[in-house]
């Protein structure tokens, strides 16, 4: 039986190029593509991706597990779309496929079976949380030494593969900026507590206050679930405390946008009556009125880094699976929602 090596030799290209042409993975120069196809025809060689993957024990796909929540348009959220963009670019550059797998967040997901059934060679887990059954499922991936990476979620367990952003530092910086603007009474609209993100933001928020000699006031801390609706719903409680607030720090832009809409309807002027500092630096943060000061999170770079690290591991299997543990820094973007 003809093999890939012979096709590569006849076409005068590398074996990788033969695979790329016959698997339809671009970009390939048109002339190269024709030469490879002609060589494959002459040698009566047709690559069957599934058959050859089976022989190699590889699928050629990087899996990306995302939560499936009915009615939530996941890809329209900045967080997921930017992470996926970074992962997609890495996958494109290395000729892999990106297999999106949807999970029901209320059900324990059996990550290991994705590998056992050879649907993926490695996987990235988005929207993970710290509930015990999820932690257990992730730990099992580590114990079986499978190539995986959890995105932006910490666990109470050493040596798990994680690429994250430094949300404690980002939050600390944001609150410190507000204090520098003369704010003393700073509220916090946080997201849901099952994400380590939310805890890290709380830690950063408290640290900045305490460092400035300000006692954190529990009655000024609110909880939403990172959706715009939850921000809007918080508006009446925030408005009721308006006399006791100089500013509010909000866990993401979506909640901040909802909160601003709700507050505006109640007659609150921003930043005059209340300064707002948001989080993410999504596109929308620059479109709002006033535009939002916000913590810029390098989601795209995080996705790209996680995928690059995993695909490198796959290419260098003899080096084992060293632990991936990366924490990227955030930046402040200052706009009119915090004053001048």
């Amino acid at each position: 039986m003809t093999n890939r090596k012979e096709v590569a030799k006849l076409a005068g290209v590398s074996e990788a190029t033969v695979s790329r042409v016959l698997n339809g993975i671009g970009p390939i120069k048109e002339s190269t593509r024709q030469r490879v196809q002609e060589a494959a025809r002459q040698l009566n060689y047709e690559l069957n991706a599934v058959a050859s993957s089976f022989a190699r024990g590889r699928s050629g796909n990087l899996g990306v597990v995302v939560p499936h929540v009915p009615k939530v348009h996941l890809f329209s959220t900045y967080y997921f779309s930017e992470l996926l963009g970074g992962i997609g670019d890495a996958v494109h550059a290395k000729g892999y496929g990106l297999l999106l797998l949807f999970r029901d967040p209320s059900v324990t997901y059996d990550y290991v079976s994705l590998y056992r059934t050879q649907r993926v060679d490695a996987c990235i887990i988005l929207g993970s949380s710290a509930i015990p059954s999820e932690t257990e499922a992730i730990v099992r991936l580590a114990e079986e030494d499978l190539p995986y990476c959890v995105m932006d979620q910490r666990f109470d367990h050493p040596r798990l593969n994680i690429v994250a952003a430094d949300h404690e530092r980002g939050s600390y910086d944001a609150v410190k900026h507000l204090i520098g603007q003369g704010c003393r009474r700073i509220g916090f609209l946080n997201g849901a507590p099952q994400y380590s993100n939310s805890w890290d933001r709380m830690t950063g928020y408290r640290k900045a206050l305490i460092e400035a000699g300000i006692e954190p006031d529990e009655s000024l801390i609110y909880e939403g679930n990172y959706s715009r609706t939850s921000g809007r719903m918080a508006a009446s409680s925030v408005y009721a405390n308006l006399e006791r607030l100089d500013a509010i720090f909000v866990g993401n832009d979506r909640m901040a946008i909802g909160l601003m809409q709700g507050l505006r309807e109640l007659g609150c002027r921003m930043p005059e009556d209340l300064k707002i500092f948001a989080y993410d630096n999504s596109d929308a943060a620059s479109f709002t009125e006033p535009p939002l000061s916000t913590v810029k999170v390098p989601f795209y770079e995080m996705g790209r880094l996680a995928a690059d690290r995993l695909l490198d591991l796959l290419a260098n299997k003899d080096q084992g699976n060293p632990v991936i543990n990366e924490k990227l820094l955030t930046d402040l973007v200052i706009r009119r929602s915090t004053g001048s």
Copy 2:
């Protein structure tokens, strides 16, 4: 060798449930999952997805081909993220995987090889255009009777599989609304001409003007490329004609947002000096100041419909591949950018 049927019988579930559990496709009740895994263990049965797909000649994946453009964060565009959301929900409901495939838009893509190499069972093509080599590649899919669907792009060829929106009608409705508001001198910032979308919008724009007895004025027609930057770049030309314009119709929200930013910097007040009607009804359209009147396109529903139709075809192969030809209607969403 043990087969799936025996596992299903021992576990007291359907064969489909066995596949779902062993392929890690949720949602599955925890107790069911454990029962199936226990049965598989007892019978020494382990499903190898690739091996079994090979036997069936199926990958279990729906392919989605998307253009890869460096530095453009594709998933952050409303158009792609909503289409993908609809496709993702259909795929999730039917237990398929969604294989994202990135193509270089400047290179002819060999769609047929995706099937030959069994990477996908069917595919949806996003961001297609009417250039001749692309048309040829799509026609080849039709000639080989492969299950595929092109999203929101028409070709000069009968009987190709397409799910689209009625952009001629959407544009006609938008311009007619402006005329109803007393506008006579209505400009048009259109997108790039390789998309049938752009031509359809032009047809609708002209039709509404001519029907109202207004001669279309070529000097008030501008061209961008659907990016925010291209909208911003058009601002100075539009501003130069401000005295001759009552309103401008813009081919998508992103360009409209860029145009508004550019015009505001030049001192133009909207809607007082110029009314703006945009297109898409992305999230951002409601955040801008003023919020944008816009044509609402059911992208999510279009993606869902295309995927559902293809997955139905796969499930009923004996019925052949009837032509898919759907055109969904748009709606007008009226906000402050067009006046009251």
